[in-house]
Amino acid sequence: MFGFNSAFDTLWRLQRAMDRAMDNDYFGLSTFSAGTPSLNIFKEDENSLVTVEIPGVKKEDVKLEVKGNTLRISGERKIEFPEKASLHRRERSAYKFDRTVRLSHEVDENKIKAELKDGVLAVLLPPKEEHKPKSITVS
């Protein structure tokens, strides 16, 4: 736990700093900078694992598309309240999302595993056989 946290923290802080410097709206083409919802990309052995926090989103409301080395995640988060309710505090928001991420390898479409559990979407993307790294023995 400690190892993951500290290494992760460093990367996360670095990226936040980079984002602030590079991706602020002044240099961008649109008024839209940070991604919604946030996603993380991990490496698990040779596979890539993309995780997205989308609490309250139903399986039916998520769409995944894979092409080459890109993964597109789109969907909608709906928030419904009972009728005749008065709002005291509103911090959660409803949104539509559509994000595409580029991975470091082409994806084997037949081996993709996607799971939506406890509001976290996890997509495991194994590389195509021909894109797996080959080890070379030094003779």
Partner: protein
């Protein structure tokens, strides 16, 4: 892409607690909606990654505290490549008024959203007064 969005979500807020934690790990303040109906107050809290077994809800001296635990074990074999969010436990407290019937509080966790039902005490329910 941008025009499809209704609203930009807030990023996760790391908890800046007055009291110090005795354990390691990050703590976040779950984003919460609170609504009131005739019968009850309903709290909706976003706690992605938390399952039923790892939520702790308790009421002490009119303070309602919700704790949600994350298991780091699922991240142990992973190497982070690109990160936009961090993971950690969730914790948040609310002060309850005497209008809440503390005995009847109920909770439900679904898709990472915790729904808390806080029924109003009998005397706090709105009454219709007819003009004679």
């Amino acid at each position: 892409m941008s025009e499809k969005k209704d609203m930009v979500t807030g990023t996760k807020h790391e908890l800046k607690s007055e009291e110090e934690k005795t354990e390691q790990g990050k703590f976040y303040k779950p984003a919460t909606d609170i609504i009131e109906t005739k019968e009850d107050l309903v709290l909706y809290m976003d706690m992605p990654g938390v399952n039923k077994g790892s939520v702790d809800i308790r009421v002490e001296k009119n303070q309602l505290t919700v704790d949600g635990r994350i298991y780091y074990s699922r991240y142990e074999a992973l190497k982070a490549q690109y990160a936009e969010y961090n993971v950690g436990h969730y914790t948040r407290s609310f002060q309850l008024s005497s209008e809440i019937d503390q005995e009847k509080i109920s909770a439900k966790l679904e898709d990472g959203v915790l729904t808390l039902n806080l029924p109003k005490a009998e005397q706090a329910k709105p009454k219709q007064i007819s003009v004679s």
